[in-house]
Subunit: 193 residues, 2 copies
C-alpha cells in the first residue's frame, strides 16, 4: 500500500454541505469537514454548472496549433487560448471538443485523442476539463453563442517556449494542454483515458 492509497483511505469526512450563495451560473457551498486527525474545518467551494468541459488542441498540420483570441470578463481583457466549452447533454469529450472547434475555429477533426483530464482550482472549484488533441482537420463551421467572431491565431508548436511567455497567453489550462500535446506528439506521453 503506497502513501497515496493510505491517504485516500483517510479522506476527510464531509459532515454536511449547504448552499450559501447562488447566482445565474455560480452555486457556492459551505462544506463542514472532519479530517482524519480530528481537525474540523468549514471550507467553501463553487459547484457551477460547467461541471465537465472540454478544451481542444487543434493541429492544422504537424507543427501548427490554432488558438483563439477571446474576451474574458474575469480578467477584462482579450486572452489567447485554446478553444473550449461546456459539454452538452449526451456528448462525450471527443464529440464536445469537435463541436467547440467547429463553433470557434471553423474546423472539424477526423482524429481526436483525449490526452488528460485537468482541473482549474481543485481547492475551491468542482468540475474538470478534458484536453483533446484534434488532428486531420477539415473546414466546417457551426454557429455557437459567441458575442463576436473569434479571431483564430495559428502558432508554431516549435516556438512553444515563446508562445507561453506572451502577455496575452495566461490561462494555465491552455499552457498545460499545449505542453501535453507537444510531449504526446514527441512520443513521450501515453494518454490514460
Amino acid at each position: 500500500m503506497n502513501s497515496y492509497t493510505r491517504r485516500s483511505n483517510h479522506l476527510p469526512k464531509i459532515l454536511s454541505t449547504r448552499t450559501v450563495a447562488k447566482s445565474g451560473i455560480f452555486q457556492i457551498e459551505a462544506v463542514d469537514l472532519c479530517f482524519s486527525n480530528g481537525e474540523k474545518r468549514t471550507f467553501e467551494r463553487s459547484v457551477c454548472r460547467s461541471l465537465r468541459s472540454v478544451m481542444a488542441i487543434p493541429l492544422l498540420d504537424k507543427d501548427t496549433v490554432l488558438l483563439i483570441r477571446e474576451y474574458s470578463v474575469g480578467t477584462d481583457r482579450y486572452e489567447l487560448a485554446l478553444p473550449k466549452g461546456v459539454m452538452e447533454l449526451g456528448e462525450n469529450p471527443l464529440e464536445a471538443a469537435n463541436r467547440e472547434m467547429q463553433e470557434e475555429v471553423g474546423y472539424g477533426a477526423k482524429r481526436l485523442t483525449c490526452l488528460k483530464e485537468v482541473t482549474a482550482i481543485p481547492g475551491y472549484l468542482s468540475g474538470s476539463m478534458y484536453c483533446v488533441l484534434a488532428e486531420e482537420l477539415y473546414p466546417s463551421t457551426l454557429i455557437g453563442d459567441e458575442p463576436e467572431p473569434m479571431e483564430v491565431v495559428p502558432y508554431s508548436l516549435k516556438e512553444l517556449s515563446q508562445l507561453v511567455m506572451l502577455n496575452e497567453v495566461t490561462e494555465a489550462r491552455t499552457i498545460a494542454a499545449l505542453y501535453l500535446a507537444r510531449d504526446y506528439l514527441a512520443g513521450q506521453l501515453i494518454p490514460r483515458l
Copy 2:
C-alpha cells in the same frame, strides 16, 4: 499595429457591474457589456478575495521537485500539486512563495525566480497566480493554517511526462508551472517579469 493591438483598442465597454451573490470567500458580479460590434451581453464573474496568489516550484536539487499531497474540497480528493497560497498584504510574489514553501514543504529558498503570471479560468474568475521557481533550498519551517500536515512528495523532473499523467496530478496550474520550470532550466524560456 498588430491584431492584438487592434482588438485591445476595442475592448467591450463595461456598462455596469453589480454584486449578485456573496459568501465568505466568493463574490459574484453580473457585468453588463457592449462589444465593439454593438452586441450586448451580461456575463457573470467571481471576484474572490484571492486576487493575487503564488505557486512555488521548489527544486531540492537540479532534478528533484517537491510536491505536496493536499485535500481539495472542490474535487473532494487528495491532489498532488505544487505549494501555493494567497499573497499577504505587503508581500511581493517572491516573498509570498518563500513563505508558502516554509509553511507547506519545510524549506526556504535562497534563489527565487518569477517565471510567469498565469490565470485559472479568465472567462469567469478574476485574479492571477505567479509561478516562482525556488532554488538553493534550506530547511526552514513556518506554521501555516493547514488542517493537517502536508505530505511532501519528491519527484524527478526527468520523469515529468509520467508525473503529469498521474491520476492524482490534475491541477493545470501545477502542470503548466512544472513544464515552464523544465523549459527555463533547459535555457529555452526567458522570464519577462
